[in-house]
Symmetry: C2
Subunit: 112 residues, 2 copies
């Protein structure tokens, strides 16, 4: 009979899987979430898998590469696992800005 993996082992496997999908196939990231899941990104809360899928698509997460510096995982009383990840994330940016002249200085008119 297989032994139950420790929280650290299960957490590490999850984190590896999650950030690989985020990098290689972000269009499938929503598969980690269920109908009652909460996803918070950039101060915006998305609720449930389909809303999360919409949000992830909107974020255009391309080539989002994560370097994990620290990972910690613990079992909860309700048989879940809480995972904390600290690290750095790098991604491609394409920004279009328009500057307008206001007096003697330039100001950003639009920044997308």
């Amino acid at each position: 009979m297989m032994e139950k993996p420790s929280a650290q082992v299960a957490g590490r496997a999850f984190v590896r899987h999650y950030y690989t999908v985020l990098y290689k196939e972000p269009e499938n990231l929503h598969s980690f979430y269920g109908k009652d899941s909460l996803y918070v990104h950039g101060g915006l809360v998305s609720n449930g898998r389909s809303e999360i899928q919409k949000r992830v698509t909107e974020l255009s997460l391309r080539d989002c590469n994560t370097r994990i510096r620290h990972m910690d995982a613990r079992f909860t009383l309700s048989k879940g696992i809480v995972v904390q990840v600290m690290g750095e994330q790098a991604h491609v940016i394409v920004k279009h800005s328009s500057l307008c002249c206001s007096g003697h200085i330039f100001q950003l008119a639009t920044d997308t």
Copy 2:
């Protein structure tokens, strides 16, 4: 009399200044924007300097390091400048996730 700088020179000076402030003092990033400016981040539009300041604070842009790969700038007919920047952005992440057991698989319950 000083010659008017080319769009490339002005654009490059702006881009260098903007991304230095973003990295070193993100709490002052709103100073690049005016009362009618539009700022779009993560699919969310903020309008005007105070709303942009609130949004930037909310985003907690810490140690956000940008590597510019390509920069292009053009004057517009209305004496503004449009700037396009392509590159990579790296930032620190601290994520707290809770996984719950759904049947034989773990799903993300909350992900912040």
